[in-house]
């Protein structure tokens, strides 16, 4: 294991058998305790015997104890190697217990009808949720909206690239502009939905509506027609996240060696040509990273939609997340919502795999 470590450490661990046994005992003992507690709790749920538990917390505590024992035992049984494992193990355990386990649990929920506010509890209903999803026009509509929203990233990218180019050029008060341009990213989307979505875009008194009237639009409304509403949401979201792409692209621009641009200037390339022949190809890897990360964030878009339009008019602005949020709020059925989310996850994983393959091909050095 240590043969090709980045960091070479010569260690001489002599771990006695008793120490090894103690470590093993620690892990298995904690695991046994956890199993015992879980079993007792399960027994109470099934009505075999009442232990006086009010919730599943004891099992959680036992799990935490087991996780600690596992980390500790690494050092006890494996010495220096265990100490190295200890760097990664806590984070790995944390992520596994908070994603893998709930995801598996979510799979069970997805195939059941479970109304949290009724006392019936969970009922397994097979593929009913899938069938219902197949006929749910609103869900497909939300998925379609996501495609449109993601497509809007190209425009955001163009604007962000332009701003990054300007910021990387020779300008005065660079720090001021950078801070000013960064500001939208710092603001909470919920506050932004009120500040911009609900007040500045308000049809009667909002400053933007006034501006539109001054420019000759008779009845400015930003949320009435489906396409206008979609566009407004896109603009709002772009406003918050353009700084993010801009900063990444700016970092990329600043990493390009100056000599390359100077050389192209000596060779007689003018601004536009030197951009397309030198800057843009060199920026391709950074651009791809920025766009991929932006897509990932875009797929989570919900806060603004929930707070500004709550999906309206007629689902025109719905994202998958906001749709599931409303679905749960209205019917409090976790089963159907989870199924929708799971299908969404599968679609995302497929789409991202293709995108990453495509991105790899795009950024591979041209020969």
């Amino acid at each position: 294991m240590s043969g090709n470590d980045q960091l070479h450490v010569v260690t001489s661990d002599e771990i006695s058998d008793s120490r090894r046994r103690f470590g093993g005992l620690l892990v298995w003992g904690a695991a046994g305790l956890m199993a015992l507690v879980a079993l007792a709790q399960a027994a109470q749920i099934l009505g075999w015997r009442d232990f006086g538990f009010t919730n599943w917390r004891p099992t959680l505590y036992a799990y935490c104890l087991w996780a600690t024992a596992l980390c500790w035992a690494q050092v006890i049984t494996r010495g220096e190697h265990g100490k190295r494992t200890l760097f990664v193990l806590p984070a790995a355990l944390f992520v596994i217990s908070l994603t893998v386990f709930p995801l598996l649990f979510g799979l069970i929920i997805a195939f059941s009808s479970w109304n949290l506010s009724s006392l019936d509890g969970r009922q397994f209903n097979g593929v009913d949720n899938l069938v219902q999803m197949w006929g749910d026009a609103f869900y497909w509509n939300a998925l379609g909206n996501m495609v449109i929203y993601v497509a809007a990233i190209l425009v955001e990218y163009a604007i962000a690239f332009g701003l990054a180019l300007i910021l990387a050029g020779q300008i005065r008060a660079r720090k001021f502009w950078r801070v000013a341009f960064l500001m939208p990213l710092m603001l909470s989307p919920v506050a932004v939905s009120w500040m911009v979505g609900k007040s500045m875009l308000e049809a009667r008194f909002g400053p933007l509506a006034r501006l539109a009237r001054a420019l000759g639009v008779d009845n400015p409304s930003f949320f009435e027609s489906p396409w206008m509403a979609k566009l407004t949401i896109m603009v709002l979201d772009a406003w918050t996240f353009i700084p993010f792409m801009m900063i990444m692209l700016l970092a990329g621009l600043q990493a390009i060696p100056k000599e390359l641009q100077e050389a192209s200037k000596v060779d007689g390339a003018t601004g536009w040509k030197s951009f397309w022949e030198i800057t843009f190809p060199l920026m391709l890897p950074v651009s791809v990273t920025a766009i991929l990360i932006r897509i990932i964030f875009k797929l989570k878009l919900a806060d603004i939609v929930i707070n500004v339009t709550s999906g309206g008019p007629g689902g025109a602005t719905d994202t998958v997340t906001s749709f599931i949020f409303r679905e749960y709020r209205e019917r409090s059925n976790v089963g159907y919502g989870t199924m929708l989310a799971m299908v969404y996850l599968v679609l995302i994983v497929i789409a991202m795999t293709f995108l990453m393959k495509f991105a790899n091909r795009l950024t591979r050095p041209r020969t």
């Binding site: 710092m186 909470s188 998958v320």
Partner: protein, 321 residues
Amino acid sequence: MTETPVQIFRDSEADRGFRMKWWASRVAIYGVLVFWAVICLFPIYWTATTSFKMAPNVMQGQMIPFPPAWTPEGDWAKSLFYAPKWKGWESIGLSPQTLQQESTVRAEFLKRFANSAIVALVSSTLAVVLGAMAAYGLSRFRYKFGWMKNDDILFFFLSQLILPPVVLALPFLVLYKELALLDTRIGLILLYTLSVLPIVIWIMKDQFETIPTELEEAALVDGLSIWGAFLTIIVPIALPGMVAAFILSLVLTWNEYFFAALLTSTHANTLPVMVASQTGSQGINWWSMAALSFAAILPLIVIGIVLERFIIKGMAAGAVK
């Protein structure tokens, strides 16, 4: 013999054209900069000024707060200036008059503020500690957990980014209900830590890879253990990166709304949930919403101005390889 000195050096026609072009491009560039700065800053200005307005100011659309004593005569001034009032801040109990008195709205606001602060600070700290350790390990040693090698482990951590919150939300709702973690700060902290951990690991891995391993080797020769070397040598060097990761996590967790809206109801509500819950009910009482929104975004505006270079550093990490 007097000759008028011949001007030897003079701008040729082509050069003058060039200078014109240079000026034109300067004007265009600063024009774009000013235009975009207005787009970025106007909503903040609008919110700040609206919080000092009253109903007539909102309806007439006056934009600039101005002491009434100095306001010049004339219609143009009336349509532009208004006299600032503390009404909006009174509604959350933060105006100068109400600050001295007991106020339930202020207590409510401060409670939400404290919730947000605690959740954001603790989860960011937790994420930076866990993430920095994992990133250090992955950048220095070769692991093999079952079939998973270093790259697989890193991919496993980073792939959490793709996971949309909505997939975890409902299972967590049910789990938290069973674990009595619903509407608690700990529940939120766990989820927030999870959601920023991939970003922290990404930034920190980048950071540690720029630190030469000779440093630790020297420390190990001098008799430090591997953890000792990490804590006393590497962490201080990597501190700027850790601060960057921390600030970025802070921004993301402070602003998070989706999980907070689903998983909290009365005790552990964070500020975004409070803002969202007031949005619908206020009607045209813009001054109180503006005061609330502004109070919610103010901490991050301050952080953004003061710690801007860390945020930029954090976001730039990983972009450039």
